[in-house]
């Protein structure tokens, strides 16, 4: 127990019991690997969050950054945060899956090393090479630098994308392989209950969701491979000119599917962890869950099309399909996952610890973002007014900061808290979520208001006629400061538990229980 904290009966750990499939040594290995991922992710978030501050201060005219620098930082912040939270979620998913199956620890370590190399290349490309085509590097902008970045920076950037793609492929295939060694793929996908006579599967819900999402994400990686190959063929001077509309479809397929998979995998973390915290039995895959996640799998694969609603050259039926799928996709999420979380909490007498509050708030954030994404981002008449304004930035930050990030922070705190065997102080249990919620929603609201006021996204400097963008960027500093305060308080609570958690992670489950 940490010094100076109230003496409370330590509740039964909900995360640390060892799964049957892994040995004591592997269990220790996965715990340490999870801590290493967590430390790396949080260090990256501190740096990337600071870049967010620099950009808003620049847009508020309180800091002078040359546009070349602004856009390098913007590329690093956007793509960096996007990838970092995917990695954070995958680290949590890997740990939770090791309770049921036996993932490869050596694959996990190799992926970590490869990720570090890839991230270093990304930093070199953006900060040294000033590579700055934005987080989705829309074709053919990487080839049109106007002298800001050199061809070597483009090459380093695409090497980074390739290495990260290989790392993610190894990670996903190794997890799917571990699942396949225990259950068949149709079983893990829930097809035995969906199309067979069984009403409940013996596959845990966490395994089912992970399987659906990882299979889906393999298709995203495939689109990235095609994209990268086409870029390379053009970049090495074969004389091939790529089709901009095809390239746009490929990059948005990859980006959108990855974002949706990140969100659904973070839901898996909630559905695995929250029943344990609420003292309810774990979920099993029944027809309802299997139907919901299989429908989500199909819908995610086509909802990316709503990113191309303002490309009138895109075939009309694809635009109609994109809008329709985007209107439908929140329905299985609302009717099944969000509804189930609410019924789980109702009357549960759950102890509202910091992880429980963060997980619950994260689900609420995803729910709010879901309807916004369906309505504003997928309606052509509204995209006509709001596409590529700061409304789009509001949507991205709402889904990630108030959804995926809160859920991940909830998981991480529970993990570190259990390892360090330390309780929370009651004021931080409430101060951290309150600061994060007011700051986060305030930040999103300022982006939304600016977007409705016609302020475009990705403007390093607002022109005179859009000076309201400067004013709103200045007002946005207040919620940004609250969000930062909440994040720093969270980090402090985590860092002071870290030495105990790190030391305890070396112990086997039985040693940890008796210590």
């Amino acid at each position: 127990m940490l010094h100076g904290e109230a003496s409370l009966a330590w509740p039964t750990p909900v995360l640390l019991e060892r799964g049957e499939a892994v040995s004591e040594a592997e269990d220790v290995g996965f715990r340490r690997m999870t801590l290493v991922w967590v430390a790396t992710v949080l260090a990256l978030v501190v740096v990337l969050g600071t870049l967010g501050w620099l950009m808003r201060l620049t847009q508020g005219n309180w800091l002078t950054l040359r546009p070349e620098w602004f856009y390098s930082l913007m590329t690093l912040h956007g793509l960096g945060m996007f990838g970092t939270w995917y990695i954070a979620t995958m680290a949590a998913v890997t740990y939770l899956l090791s309770r049921y199956v036996r993932p490869s620890l050596s694959a996990s370590r190799f992926v970590y090393g490869l990720t570090l190399v890839a991230v270093s290349l990304f930093v070199i490309a953006t900060l040294v090479g000033r590579f700055s085509p934005g987080w989705y590097f829309l074709y053919p902008l990487p080839f049109y630098s106007q002298g800001v970045w050199k061809p070597w920076a483009t090459a380093v950037f695409f090497t980074f994308v390739g290495l990260l793609g290989v790392a993610w492929l190894i990670w996903e295939v190794s997890l799917l392989g571990a699942i396949a060694r225990r259950w068949s793929l149709p079983q893990a996908l829930g097809w035995d209950v969906l199309f067979g006579r069984r009403s409940v599967s013996d596959v845990p819900l966490a395994v089912h969701i992970a399987t659906v999402m990882l299979v889906l994400h393999l298709s995203a990686l495939l689109s990235a491979v095609v994209l990268l190959s086409l870029y390379t063929l053009e970049g090495i001077g074969t004389g091939i000119r790529n089709d901009p509309l095809l390239m746009k479809n490929l990059v948005f397929y990859f980006g959108h599917v990855t974002a949706e998979v990140t969100t659904n995998l973070s839901f898996m973390v909630v559905l695995e962890l929250l029943p344990r915290l609420a003292g309810r039995p774990p979920f099993r895959v029944n027809r309802m869950f299997a139907a919901a996640f299989n429908v989500i799998l199909v819908l995610i694969a086509v909802t990316y099309l709503h990113h191309l609603l303002m490309d009138f050259a895109q075939p009309f039926w694809l635009r109609v399909l994109g809008q329709t799928a985007s209107y439908l996709i929140p329905i299985p999420a609302a009717v099944v996952t969000i509804f189930i979380v609410l019924t789980l909490i109702y009357g549960s007498r759950i102890r509202w610890t910091l992880p429980a509050v963060l997980l619950y708030l994260g689900v609420m954030g995803v729910a709010i973002d879901g309807i916004g994404a369906a309505f504003i981002s997928s309606t052509p008449a509204l995209q006509f007014l709001f596409h590529n304004t700061l409304v789009a930035v509001a949507h991205l930050h709402l889904g990630f900061v108030m959804g995926v990030v809160l859920i991940n922070l909830g998981f991480v705190f529970q993990f570190v808290k259990e390892l360090s065997r330390s309780e929370e102080s009651s004021w931080t249990t409430w101060a951290i979520p309150v600061l994060l919620a007011i700051g986060g929603y305030g930040l999103v609201l300022m982006f939304s208001l600016a977007g409705v006021a016609s302020v475009p996204r990705r403007y390093a400097i607002y022109p005179e006629e859009l000076a309201r963008g400067v004013t709103m960027a200045r007002f946005a500093i207040v919620p940004l400061a609250l969000l930062t305060a909440g994040a720093l308080l969270y980090l402090w609570e985590l860092v002071r538990r870290w030495p105990h958690a790190w030391a305890a992670s070396r112990l086997s489950s039985s040693e940890a229980a008796s210590s």
Binding site: P244, D311, I376, A381, L385, N388, Y462
Partner: protein, 186 residues
């Protein structure tokens, strides 16, 4: 479409979600569980309600999509070509870089009449750009992507006279915020 009403409706829906979550969190203090049959009825009701609502919303928004209709004939055609970092706006087709340079540097400003149906034929000579229409009060009233190799047709009927600015709405490089074009409605 009115720009504020949809956002307000969304805020109201978001507030509704917050209230539901707050209510359930408060009800977590009293022991008990949702009766399964009641939960199932609620779930089915939610499913039917949301499907119906999505259907209605699709029926309402499809006809309001800003896409050109085949039956309509534009009164005027305006050619717009984006290139790092300017828009050329012209009543004559622009087919190569020198025509683009001439249109940007020396082209006569395009002047449109209020009420006429204008078709913008929009493309790019380098990277993706975003053609946006900012009215004389600097309010964004419409947009379409400018993509190399493709022509996007945007039709619009202007009512307010004055100078309209064309800003770039797709990030296109370090000069993105200063990329401009313009025309008049008189």
């Amino acid at each position: 479409m009115d720009r504020v009403t949809p956002v307000l409706l969304l805020e109201v829906a978001s507030a509704g979600i917050v209230l539901v979550f707050a209510y359930v969190a408060l009800r977590s203090r009293r022991a008990g569980a949702v009766v399964p049959s009641r939960a199932r009825r609620l779930q089915v009701g939610l499913l039917v309600g949301l499907l119906g609502f999505a259907g209605l919303l699709l029926a309402f928004t499809f006809p309001r999509a800003p896409y050109p209709r085949r039956a309509e004939r534009p009164d005027r055609v305006v050619f717009v070509v984006g290139k790092q970092f300017s828009f050329a706006v012209s009543e004559r087709p622009i087919t190569n870089d020198s025509e683009w340079q001439e249109a940007v540097a020396f082209g006569e400003p395009v002047t449109l009449a209020p009420g006429e149906l204008v078709e913008f034929r929009v493309t790019s000579f380098d990277v993706n750009h975003g053609l946006s229409l900012y009215d004389p009060d600097h309010v964004l009233i419409g947009q379409v992507q400018a993509m190399p190799g493709y022509v996007n047709r945007l039709r619009f009927r202007f009512t307010k006279p004055g100078r309209y600015e064309v800003l770039c709405l797709e990030y296109c490089g370090h000069g993105h915020p200063r990329m401009r074009g313009y025309f008049f409605v008189k």
